[in-house]
Every structure is written in C-alpha cells, then in structure tokens.
Point group: C2
Chain length 223, copies 2
C-alpha cells in the first residue's frame, strides 16, 4: 500500500485504474466529494489535525488516499531509464515524470528509493499512472542486454559524448547512478556497457541526477 | 546576508571570494577547522542544538557560514536563462546549477524566489559562486531585447519545436514561467517574443520546471 495526496494526483490514480482502500478528506472538501462520486469511492471525513498527521507534505489540503501499489509490469524492449541506487525521492519522481512524458520505461535497482513512496509520487505528478515503473529488476547490466537493450552509463568523464551515444536503432537503457557516489565502480568496465557524458563547458563537477537523466532521455528522442 | 551550509558549499564560497561574517561549527568538526585556516576565517564553536536552530536543513552537520550576498553583476550579452516568477527554491537552485555547468547567465524577475536563499544555494551546489545570477532585472521582455538577446518563451503548446527555436548566432534568453501558472498571459504575444515547446510523445501535461529549463539550455549548446 501507499498514499497519494491532493486532488490532481487522486484524479490521475483514478484514471490509471488503481485500487483504492480509503480516502480521507476535510469536511468542506468539495473537490474530494466530486472525485469520490466520479470514481465510486467512499470518503471518510477527518479533522485538519488528523489529515496533517497522515500526510507526507507539510501543509496537506487533502484528500489523501490509501491505494494498492500496482503489480509491476513485465519489462519490455523499449527505451529505458535505469535508476542505479538513486537515493533522493524528489529526483526519482522527477525522472518518472520525464520518462512518462517521453515514453520511457523506468527500471530501478535494489537500493534505489522506493518508487511508490509518497514523495516520489508527488514529484512524478501522475507519471506512475501513465507509465508504471518496473522496480528492482536489474542487479547486473547483463539483464538489460538479455532484454535486448543497449546499456549506456552516464558518467562525468567519458570520452563518448551523450549526443552520439544515444543514437541508433536498438532500444537503449540509460543508467544513472547515485547522487553522491555516482555509478558503482566497475559497472562501466563490464562487457557490453558503454559510458557517455554530457558536455559541461561552464565547468561544474556534475548536474542534478534528475536533470542529467532527463536531458539524456530528451537527446534520445530528439537527436 | 545569507547562509551557506556544509563543507562543500563553504569551499565553493571561499573559492568564489565572497565576504564571510561568521562561521559556526561543532566542536569536533575537523573539516571546518581546516577550511577556516585555509581561508583565514575564525570559527565559532556551537553545540548541536544551536547549529540545528540556525540551519535550513533538517540534519545539519555544519559548518554554517553567514556571508554577504555578492553584488549582482551587470547583465551581459550571452545565452541566458530567465526565471519568470519561479516559486520553488529547489527548482531555482537546480537551474542555477545547470546554468553554471553550461555557461548560461541567470536572470530572475521580481516575484521569483530569492536566488540567494539557503535552499536555493544548497540545490545549486556551488553554481552561485561560478556564475553569479543577475536578480530582478527584467519586468518586460523588451529589456532582454535591448540587451541584444532573443527572448524565447517555454510553453506547453507552441508550434515551434524547441530544437529549432534555440538555434542561431544571436544570444538567446530562454524564459521559463512559474511551476503552477506557467508564463504570464500575454507574454508570448509581445513583439519580438517567440514561443517554443519540448516534445512530449508520452503525453504528460508538462515537465518539471528545472528539467525543462535544463533540457532547453542543453539543446542550445548541443543542437
């Protein structure tokens, strides 16, 4: 189970066909009543203090719904973004948002933040319900290769430019590593795994992980 | 004045030549002592509770420095990202990080979050000290045109694709609007202001503002 918060995300969850267990809203929440009747969901009215104690956000306006985490779909042979031990829920959600917008499949390794945590759901703004992520599938890039994908690891100092690396007919698996530690040592030395870097002419050490992942996905559909 | 937190950001601030007023650290913070002696800054030792009460982060490890906000530089005729009433400090900081990495100038309108707020500084990971933003310069795109820039507004439904819009010899000013409300009505109807959109074949309504701004900047240096 997980929780989704706010009228927009609830609407997306309803449209996405997830199973609802409970929905809690403030007594004067007209939008919640409307959503509930549209979806045939019974709403439990709660006081502001109760709503606040249930919410992951600081100033929740509700409604808050308890939903079943949908069963993970089977991974497919399409362009994919792989979260390799990604730690920040905001980054994970933002990547899911971009992936849903650009038509990418999302795969996460063990050690990545729970992709169905409320903060991830919030940052993804409904992306979960349009293109459900496939969690904890890979432990080794070989599994991506067996799926028919070409794994390309995003690193800071590869010789191969990202614009060139993402080209080609074969579906690719863009791998982004942990925010603080990057990709695990040795991952890029595995057979069949390429490395690529984004240009940073201004000279910072790195980009935000969600930004880097999103630029790489966009280059894939654009270049 | 503003505060910068953590050894990395302090190191960047020292390298950037900002003026320090006070630095606070825990008694056993060896990294702070090292930074202090490197920069000739006196460090005041404080108890964990005191450090926590000063910090903007939930689990501060210090050091925390009070610095002067550097004087805003004069705007230049180079590629620019314009934050039009952007509200989220994390987004603003992430955009400053990408801008610094890609060599863009940052301009913000009145109504944009304070670019020197601690949360913005944290998300920018030192970007402020490499490419200082120019705050609250424009109230009208005409000011960008007078600076010799070509203003292009990022919207959800323009006919012009971003990849084509950002091309050209003349320096451009990419304008991104508020997270919830987008760009103000009528901005794209002003003379000399173009509109552009990113492709979203997957079908979400929008991308995260920092992601959209970062993709657009990267397309500019890459396409």
């Amino acid at each position: 189970l997980t929780t989704v918060e706010g009228p927009f995300l609830l609407g997306e969850a309803i449209a996405g066909g997830v199973s609802f267990h409970d929905v809690f809203a403030l007594p004067d929440d007209a939008a919640a009543v409307q959503l509930g009747s549209r979806a045939g969901i019974e709403i439990t009215q709660v006081a502001p203090d109760v709503l606040k104690s249930m919410a992951s956000s600081v100033s929740p306006r509700g409604p808050i719904a308890v939903i079943s985490v949908p069963e993970a779909p089977q991974p497919r042979r399409i362009d994919t973004i792989v979260l390799w031990k990604l730690g920040d829920p905001g980054n994970a959600g933002t990547i899911i948002r971009t992936a849903a917008a650009l038509g990418f499949q999302v795969i996460a390794t063990e050690g990545t933040v729970d992709l169905w945590a409320p903060k991830v759901l919030r940052a993804a703004v409904g992306g979960h319900f349009r293109a459900a992520p496939v969690e904890r599938f890979v432990a080794d890039p070989q599994e991506l290769i067996e799926l028919g994908l070409r794994p390309i690891l995003a690193v800071a100092d590869a010789e191969l430019q990202a614009e060139d690396a993402v080209k080609g007919q074969e579906p690719i698996a863009i791998i982004v590593g942990n925010e603080a530690h990057g990709a695990p040592d040795g991952l890029n030395a595995l057979p069949g795994v390429e490395s690529m870097s984004l240009a940073m002419p201004g000279g910072m050490e790195s980009l935000n992980a969600a930004v880097a992942a999103s630029i790489l996905m966009y280059l894939r559909i654009s270049c």
